[in-house]
Every structure is written in structure tokens, then in C-alpha cells.
Amino acid sequence: MILPVRITKRDDVPRRQAAVILVVSIVLALVFSGVVMLLFGLNPIEVYGTIVQGAFGSAMRLEQTMIKAVPLTIASLGILVAFKMKFWNIGGEGQIMMGALAASWVALNHPGLPQPLLLLWMGAASVVAGGVWALIPAAFKAKMGTNETIFTLMMNYIAIKFVMYLQYGPWKDPESKGFPRIPKFSDAAILPDVGGMHAGWVLMLILVAAVFLFMNYTKKGYEIAVVGESLETARYAGMNIPVIIMIAMFISGGLCGLVGMVQASAIEKTLTWGLSSGYGFTAIITTWLARLNAVTTLFVCLAFAVLLQGADYIQLALHVPSSVAQVVQGIILFFVLGSDFFLRYRVKWIGLARARAEAE
């Protein structure tokens, strides 16, 4: 293959240029997605317009957008902690499920407790459950070096199947007339509204700050970063690598578990097997796009929430399957992954004639 370019490694890219490359790649991704839509007979301008309308068009839609931003952001923070360590936690879905399960267990068994106490207990239970679910693959990774990618992913299916089992079996609401449904929570188990939507957004902001501080200003955060960069260096520096891996993964899974509690309490008001709606996966994309920075994560997740809510809306408004959002997400990340190349290499145009001459 003859390309009219010459590629060389580059040392460093100024921040501004890096930002330009990022923005250009996202714009290109949206344009490319538009072309794909055209191929499927859709009008991309209409689709994008409707997405924006669907996300911002009314107070209710805006609330829906935020409702999607909250779980996505918190899950991304969880994924961030793991990815910083180069631990490929793709088990967010399962950790969300287990968090939701634990919170639901608390809510269903203690419906009469005072609201603050019950919510705190549910929250704690969800963090522990999500954390422990993540700790299982982490322990194997730490002690034996077991591949975490497949492990965490399989844990997703097991968690979902288990919740299905509960929903269709032992936990099924006897009053639901055969409909496979778990009973609704008591009012005390529902997150209260703060400023027009459920209180999850406050939690989200607190956690963004907390994770940012943790990763950048604590010894543990430093250790996690070193382990992610080089295990040998971590060993050399006398770090207790297994413990660091397990702590980081407990935090990662715990944050995802908390998403489960928020979704079960504020959105579904019970446990359902579909409650995580793919946030655990989408979080992988948002975290990577945010370059593993907690504050950036917040903004990326807000943008993605717009896309997700917009996609839900176009399904109603234009009868376009909402999975179009997933396709667009994928395309955006493809472009950004590809654009990294231009941060690391310099591409010089040398012209086809010279390239041909050199290829002889």
C-alpha cells in the first residue's frame, strides 16, 4: 500500500493542539454517523436536531437527561479507578446489579425504617455488594494474575441471571397476578427530590470531587497510578500490589454498586434485571474519552446523557430505534481512539510521486 505520507514519532503535543484534535475527531465522528444515517434513509440533521430537542426541549426532558447522567457519571468514576490501574473492569453491569440487589434486599426487608437510616443502609449495602462482586476477580488477579477482562465480564452475566432468577422466582410479587415483578419499595426507600430531581445528582457531584481528590492527592491514588504504569516499579518501591489492586477494585465496584442503589431506589423503585440499562458498558467509553480524569468524566457523561436521552426520544418521535445512540457512541470512540495517533505521531505529506519512487 502506497501512502503519500511519512510518519514520525513526536515528543509532545501542546494542550491546545490536543484539544483541537479531540474536538475535530468528535465532529468527524458525528459527520460520519450522519453519513451512516443517510445510508439507512434517515435525515441526520433531523435526527441530531431531535436528539437535542429530546434532551433539552422541556423541563421534563432535561430531568430525564440528568437522570441518565447521574448513573453514567458515577459508574464512570468507578471504571476510572480501575482503568487508572490498567485493570480492565468491564464488569460494571454486574456490579451495578449486585449493588441494586443488596439495596433492594435492605429496602424490602426493612420497609418501616426511618428514611435517612434506610437510605444510608441501602447505600452502604450496595457499595459493599458491588465492591465484593468486583473483589472476586480482583483477588484472583492479585494472587494469581488471572485475566480480569473475561472474568469481570462473565460476572455480569451471572449477576443478571441471578437477579432474573429472583425476579421470576423467589422474590416474585405474589400479588402481581403472575407478572414477573418484584414488589415496589416503601416510600422510605425512595431517594427524595432535591431541586427538581432525585438527590442522586448531589451524590454525583460529591463523588466527582472525591474521586478527583483521591486519585490526585492521596497516597493510595498515587499507588494506583504507579501500579497502572508499571508493576515492576511498584514492586521496586515496596508497594503491596495485591492489596492495592483489591482496594482499587473494591472502590471501583463499590461506586458501580452505588449506581445500582440509585437506580433501584429513585428510578425503578424496585429491583429489575434490566435496571442497569447498559451504563456499565457506556461508562467504559466515557471514562476513556475523559482520559481518566474525574472532572472531565462529568462533562463527557453529561454529553453522553444528552445522546442517550435524545435517542430515547427519537424512538418516540421518529420511530428510529434508540440503539442508534449506541452506534453513534461506538463511532465517536472509534474516531477518538484513532485520533490518538496524531497525538503520538507526526504525519508529513510527501506527495504520491515521492512515495511511489520510494516504494520501488
Binding site: 514520525t8 477482562t149 472474568f151 467504559i284 440503539s323 442508534v324
Partner: protein, 308 residues
């Protein structure tokens, strides 16, 4: 027992194609975690082509092309642009499942045309099918299954007895050495990533055309990931990949068997078996000592010739 094992072979086929596809990809040095996505792309494309044309051959070609198309995205980003393989693969999975449910949306619940279904009906091989035990288990299957057997043999020969096989293995083990020896690295990487993706697409097509001959968006349900695990289990060896797929095929229909034998056990708990077994495999495979059983040494390492 024979019926059970014969059914296990059928259940093993999607895994086998995907496992061989990923095995070829990994042998040439690329870790493509987008198997699930490529299977879904192959499944939906195969189904649409079958639905539209009624031609089984065209459907298979379409599925192969779709899987290879997904792999092409992966190859462009990871080979030419040297992007992170893990994240690119994960993204391919997300993209592929979005693609399948988007493109397949109008077809939900539709069935594979009768002509195509008939083509993939069982076709006992004359002679071989009469061998006691082995005949009914292995040789009274559909053409897709026979294609799978042939593929195992061909891939084994290709890897270990041919020059391109040697070259692609060398790239997976030590890209710089292969390059310095005059092996065309990018060409081989592209070729094997694409071919591997095509096989994954065929694995998906088997699910959509033969295994569940009706379109549903979540037809693959983690089999792509199981295939990734099976490659490790098989120590990157095609014959062992066949055994692993067979084992998992059996495992995935075991629950159904147990229920029909009168065991009362929840379908959902039974459904966990293959996933739990995959975890077990990943754990057990962690400890390998023979050098030949280890992953290709340069697996998932990006290569730039002028790196210093």
C-alpha cells in the same frame, strides 16, 4: 447420550467459529475483544441477506463480510493508527451490538426463509454416519458443522505447516524480528484480523440462521466472550479449540437436558453454567508452564518500526 452429544456439537459451532477466528487474530499478535460485536454484526447481516435473497450462500458470505468489516475497523485503529487494542475491541463490541439491534430492528421476530432453513437441515454423510456412536454424534449434522470440522483441520495445517502460517506466528511472537526478517507485518496483521473477524461473523450467522432461526437482537448472549476465554483454554491450538467448544456446547445445553430429565432447577440458574465455567477456565488457564502454551509474546503490543 448420542442425541445429547449430537446436540452439543450443534451448540458448539458458533463457539468454534468464533474461537478459531479469535485464535487466528491473536496468533498474529492482535487481541481483538470485539468478538461479541463481530458475531452480532455477522448474525444480523447473515439474517438480513437470507431474509432478502433466500440464498444460504449469500447469507454466509454476507455474515463473513460483516464480521470482517467490524474487524477492519479494529485493524485500521490498532494496526495503522496503533490505538489501544483492549479499548478498541470493547468499543467494537458495543458498536456491534448497537449495529445489530439498529439494523435488525424491523426484523424482530421474523423467521429465516424456508429455503435457507432447509439448506441447513441435517445431511448425514454417507458411510461415516453409519459408524456406531461417532456417526450419529458427528456425521449426521448440517453442512455448517462439516464446514467447522474442515476449518479446524485447515487452520491447524495453515498455522504449523505453511509459510504464511509461520510468518503470522512470528509476528505474534516477536513483531520486530519478523519485520527485520522481511515479513510484511501490516499486511499479515490486516489479513488475519479480517479473516478472524469473518469467522466470528460466521459464528454469529450460525446462531441467527440455524440455532435460533428467528431474529432476536440478543442472539449472541456472551458467546463472543466465551470464545475469547476458549482461546486461552485451548492454548492457541485449533484442535484444543474444537474440544473446548464441544465441552461448552455440552455445558450450554446441559440445563435443558437436566430439566427434561425431571430435575427441577431454575432456567436462570442453569443459564449461569457456561459463564461460571468460563471463569473456571480462565482461572485454571492462568497457570501454564510450557513455553508453547503461553500467549503469543507480542500479543496486543502495538508496533512501530521506527520506535526507538
Amino acid at each position: 447420550m448420542e442425541a445429547f452429544l449430537a446436540a452439543a456439537i450443534v451448540a458448539a459451532m458458533p463457539l468454534l467459529f468464533a474461537t478459531l477466528g479469535e485464535l487466528i487474530t491473536e496468533k498474529s499478535g492482535s487481541l481483538n475483544l470485539g468478538v461479541e460485536g463481530m458475531m452480532l454484526m455477522g448474525a444480523v447481516t447473515g439474517f438480513i441477506v437470507a431474509f432478502g435473497t433466500g440464498s444460504p450462500g449469500a447469507a454466509l458470505l454476507g455474515a463473513f463480510g460483516a464480521g470482517a468489516g467490524g474487524a477492519l475497523i479494529f485493524a485500521i485503529i490498532t494496526v495503522t493508527l496503533r490505538g489501544n487494542q483492549v479499548v478498541t475491541g470493547l468499543t467494537l463490541t458495543i458498536f456491534g451490538s448497537g449495529f445489530a439491534s439498529f439494523v435488525g430492528d424491523p426484523l424482530i421476530g421474523k423467521s429465516v426463509p424456508k429455503v435457507v432453513q432447509a439448506f441447513f437441515k441435517g445431511a448425514p454423510l454417507p458411510g461415516l454416519s453409519d459408524i456406531p456412536f461417532f456417526g450419529p454424534v458427528f456425521f449426521r449434522q448440517d453442512v455448517f458443522v462439516y464446514l467447522g470440522y474442515i476449518l479446524v483441520i485447515l487452520v491447524s495445517i495453515y498455522l504449523y505447516k505453511t509459510r504464511p502460517g509461520l510468518h503470522m506466528r512470528a509476528i505474534g511472537e516477536n513483531t520486530a524480528a519478523a519485520d527485520a526478517s522481511g515479513v510484511a507485518v501490516d499486511f499479515h496483521k490486516y489479513a488475519h484480523i479480517l479473516f478472524g473477524g469473518g469467522l466470528c461473523g460466521l459464528g454469529g450467522a450460525y446462531l441467527a440462521l440455524v440455532y435460533v432461526p428467528m431474529w432476536q437482537a440478543d442472539v449472541v448472549t456472551g458467546r463472543g466472550w466465551i470464545a475469547v476465554a476458549l482461546v486461552i483454554f485451548a492454548s492457541w491450538n485449533p484442535t484444543k479449540a474444537f474440544l473446548g467448544s464441544f465441552l461448552f456446547g455440552a455445558l450450554s445445553i446441559l440445563g435443558f437436558r437436566l430439566q427434561s430429565m425431571g430435575f427441577h432447577i431454575s432456567q436462570y440458574l442453569v443459564d449461569m453454567f457456561p459463564y461460571a465455567a468460563t471463569i473456571a477456565i480462565v482461572i485454571v488457564s492462568t497457570h501454564k508452564n510450557r513455553k508453547e502454551d503461553l500467549p503469543p509474546a507480542d500479543l496486543s503490543v502495538p508496533y512501530f518500526r521506527e520506535e526507538r
